[in-house]
């Protein structure tokens, strides 16, 4: 059954709902959100801890409270939502194919916003040495079991990776009666927010082993123990530094990857974030196809995911209303010294009004540095940072009018010169 729609939003999490709300408010009424779960909100449903919304709502909310505010806004506008609807493919001419228990369907979309979030790197993807017993699971999966299903996956726990989900789960599992023996982090610094180190580890006396990794998983059917080792400067385990922990659970918090299958499969170019390359309107190489939120690049705060969703929704509206012409002459961006990636991948300078938000993450922590924005040799902007860390996404707003010259626009870190 073929239908046509002005805007199809794939994914009803925070990015997708924000996009729908903004597009609607800009005058697009023929919208459908396709959500694979039986409820809206995406991953925030399992993030029952607080700390969300300080930027966006200026108050501290839990994940379910934050998402519910968006659900209310979606419902208020009467935006159509198809739940349990799993998109299996999109085509370059914007045909969206999905299945749901109510029926399989094909939608000819005039525009698409992709907001499918991200997934966790698994034990298999990092190839942890040793056996593969049950009890080695991602922190997010343990969080899902605990916070939505009401089951604890283990009683004696070790955590590999100091990403925020791992830290949050250290606290959650401790509160629920499990014993968390420690957190190992490969890098010499934590990948989580400082506040989470404090309130999830230090508060509970859980040790953080920096420059350590799991070098052996022991157990045939069920996890029995793990061995961790210290690593050297090139991240190689140092023999003789092994420590054994008898645990029934190893939680992994070793990174998130954009869930960009739908665009990957049709060959839309991807950026170093493993999301699609987009311009400053969040538009991919395909006209009228936008990407936002964690499927574009993994964010640190949902508040910024929502901002990006709003922007993608507004852009989709502009596209549908003929206000978003695409031009060939664009300014490309690139990650320079010390920088991991830059979003957007290119900036349309045809209309040089207004500002453009540049988002990036650094590769490793640095102190007393300048962030420099250069086009060729020309310095556009330089900002001093007393400290900058990979776990935080940096956002800077540049005047489009300032972006003149032969590209690309390079974002790099420069050490503060010593007088």
């Amino acid at each position: 059954m073929m239908a046509t729609r002005d805007l199809v939003i794939i994914g009803g999490g925070s990015a997708g709902m924000a996009a729908a709300i903004s597009a609607y408010d800009e005058g697009v009424k023929d919208i459908v959100i396709l959500e694979r779960s039986p409820y809206l909100g995406g991953i925030l449903n399992q993030c029952i801890h607080n700390g969300f919304g300080l930027q966006y709502f200026k108050e501290e909310l839990t994940g379910p409270e934050f998402l519910t505010r968006f659900v209310v806004e979606v419902q208020k506008r009467g935006i159509e939502v198809k739940l349990n609807a799993n998109v299996t493919a999109i085509s370059k001419d914007k045909t969206v194919t999905y299945v749901s228990p109510e029926g399989a369907g094909v939608i000819e979309a005039k525009s698409i916003v992709l907001a499918t979030g991200c997934y966790e790197r698994s034990a298999g993807s990092i190839g942890i040495p040793g056996e593969r017993p049950s009890g080695v699971i991602t922190a997010g999966q343990a969080q899902l079991y605990l916070n939505e299903y009401g089951y604890l996956v283990g009683k004696k726990v070790f955590i590999l990776g100091s990403g925020d989900i791992g830290l949050i789960m250290a606290r959650r599992m401790t509160l629920e009666g499990a014993q968390v023996l420690g957190v190992a982090e490969l890098m010499p610094y934590s990948n989580g927010l400082n506040r989470n180190i404090q309130q999830c580890l230090i508060d509970f006396g859980i040790p953080l082993y920096l420059s350590h990794t799991v070098t052996k998983v022991i157990g045939k059917g069920k996890l029995e123990a793990i061995e961790i080792s210290q690593v050297d400067g090139s991240l190689k385990p140092i023999p003789g530094t092994e420590k054994r922990f008898d645990v029934d659970t190893l939680l992994l918090s070793v990174g998130l990857v954009p869930n960009n299958d739908l665009l990957d499969k049709i060959g839309v170019p991807i950026s170093p974030t493993r999301g699609s390359k987009v311009n400053e309107h969040m538009e991919t190489e395909l006209d009228g196809v936008f990407s936002c939120g964690n499927v574009l690049h993994v964010h640190d705060l949902v508040d910024y995911v929502v901002e990006e969703g709003h922007q993608a929704g507004k852009s989709a509206a502009a596209y549908l209303q003929g206000r978003l012409p695409r031009h060939e002459d664009v300014l490309y961006t690139q990650a320079g010294n010390g920088v991991g990636y830059v979003v957007p991948a290119c900036i349309d300078l045809h209309n040089a009004d207004g500002k453009v938000a540049i988002k990036f993450r650094v590769r490793r922590p640095a102190k007393e540095v300048y962030v420099e924005y250069r086009i060729g040799e020309t310095l556009i902007k330089r900002m001093y940072k007393p400290a900058i860390i990979p776990s935080e996404m940096e956002i800077v707003s540049l005047d489009k009018a300032s972006l003149q010259g032969e590209g690309p626009l390079t974002v790099s870190l420069v050490a503060k010169e010593v007088k």
């Binding site: 799993n86 194919t97 228990p101 029926g103 997934y119 698994s122 991602t138 059917g221 990857v257």
Partner: protein
């Protein structure tokens, strides 16, 4: 628990060999019981291997390996059709990456001829035309058009399902601990009690030596040889189109690069002698070597698409050939020992041989009138056309509910495998049958749903659902 019932035949081991012996026996009016120590069939060597349907050019002419490989390869198309198993006869290429190896290729071509296998030598240009991602340093290759790839999980499971549909019985989680020879029968002491049969077939894989020793001493050994692999996600179609092998050595067929029937890529295996027959561990150093060796053939393998590493243990016999024969002191005890590569491709032929040549002299084989060679067709929802999908969802809405997002496996498909004759008791069994959890998130999102479905189907608490072996429960307690 005592079992008063006397079986005609007990098969020890629910791997590929046990599966095809059971299936071949199920044609006849016999009481057949299969004992498998794990909680699923095909849970050891049959699960963790390269899943290659070898052409048969490689084994030494005149050996059982050569015979059953070539016979098995010929049986594969019809077996996979009957059993509804994913099989692709994509052909293999054995690559020479140095000039001096071209001579070896010619010898292998001759060996293929001796084994009755059609092969063709390819020039460098031909190789690069057929496989553009192969190293430009390649000098030539031996093409074997009859080689292929198979889904090893469904191969074993569907063969057992077919055997069970035709009356064979299966007991999972039952390990044979001792065997007593009696007059005209064997009594098997297991972890669950006692079993008795007129004929016993030992298809115990890496443990086939231990099981034989329960009956008589042996002058051979089965030595565990581990192989470690990488699995890559399926987002680069056409990286390789054939199974790519380096030249074989004493250590086996070497590190291969192949696509799989699910469109993933498989790179491996290593070859390491290990002590423990249950050693499925991987280690970084071995895997780095695998990576380096594979890169000699295909320089740009996208290893960042890695979604899993695993290890399998080969049942390597000290005799260098399959041991398929009656025990010396007990003609009703049939050995299938030391079945290493090319065991998977050989399994249909070994099953036929064991039944028709070794069992037939021992017991009357009376055909069943209602023998059904085919399993009920499976729905593979993601492979259907849009029209077919719409019609199916209309008929059963559960086919519209996607459980595994990465592999697009639906509730309808999972319910189907849970309702077949072959028991599907664990999360891993569901994964092997349906691919739910096989994708890039490795079950991160779908495992809880599968777990709850299993609990409901098995009528147990979610706390009791196993990932695989006893004790492998995922959940430890209700938090609330």
């Amino acid at each position: 628990m005592m079992y008063a019932h006397m079986e005609d035949i007990i098969i020890i081991g629910g791997g590929a060999i046990g599966a095809f012996i059971a299936r071949n026996l199920s044609r006849y009016q016999l009481n057949v019981l299969v004992l498998e120590k794990e909680n699923d069939v095909g849970d050891a060597t049959s699960m963790a291997n390269s899943a290659i349907v070898h052409s048969g050019y490689d084994p030494v002419p005149g050996t059982k390996k050569a015979r059953f490989n070539v016979e098995g390869n010929a049986l594969f198309p019809s077996v996979c059709e009957e059993l509804d198993v994913e099989f692709e006869q994509c052909g293999s290429m054995t690559l020479a990456t140095e000039e001096k190896q071209l001579q070896t290729l010619k010898e292998l071509e001759q060996r293929g001829k001796d084994n009755g296998v059609v092969t063709r030598l390819l020039s460098r240009a031909e190789v690069l035309r057929l496989e553009p991602n192969v190293s430009p340093d390649v000098k030539g290759a031996l093409l074997c058009p009859t080689a292929g790839i198979v889904n090893p999980f469904t191969l074993v499971a569907h063969a057992f399902e077919n055997a069970l549909d035709n009356g064979v019985k299966l007991s999972l989680g039952e390990e044979v601990l001792a065997i007593e020879k009696r007059d005209g029968s064997f009594v098997l002491k297991t972890n669950k009690g006692q079993r008795e049969a007129k004929i016993v077939i030992n298809a115990a894989g890496v443990k086939s030596e231990e099981v034989t020793k329960m009956v008589e001493p042996v002058d051979w050994t089965v030595n565990p040889r581990k192989g470690e692999y990488y699995v890559l996600d399926h987002y680069a179609p056409g990286l390789v189109n054939h199974v790519l092998f380096p030249l074989p050595s004493e250590k086996g067929k070497g590190v291969l690069v192949t696509h799989t029937t699910s469109g993933n890529y498989l790179v491996g295996p290593s070859s390491e002698w290990v002590e423990d027959k249950d050693d499925h561990s991987t280690d970084s150093e071995t895997l780095s070597n695998v990576k380096a060796q594979a890169s000699l053939m295909v320089p740009n393998i996208p290893f960042r698409e890695q979604i899993r590493v695993f290890a399998g243990v080969r049942a390597t016999p000290s005799t260098h050939d399959f041991i398929i024969e009656p025990a010396k002191t007990a003609p009703n005890f049939i050995l299938c020992a030391g079945i290493e590569s090319p065991g998977l491709v050989s399994s249909p032929a070994i099953g036929r041989y064991v039944v028709e040549e070794l069992v037939r002299p021992l017991i009357p084989l009376v055909p069943k009138a209602n023998y059904q060679p085919c399993v009920k067709k499976y729905v593979r929802f993601s492979a259907l056309t849009e029209e077919q999908k719409e019609a199916l969802v209309e008929q059963n809405p559960h086919f519209g509910e996607v459980i595994c997002n990465c592999e697009k496996v639906t509730l309808g498909e999972i319910e189907d495998v849970l309702s077949r004759s072959l028991p599907c008791l664990t999360i891993k069994a569901v994964k092997k049958r349906t691919r739910a959890g096989f994708g890039k998130c490795q079950g991160g999102f779908c495992q809880p749903k599968v777990l709850l479905l299993l609990a409901k189907k098995l009528g147990v608490s979610p706390l009791e659902v196993l990932y695989d072996r006893a004790g492998s429960n995922i959940l430890r307690k209700e938090s609330k």
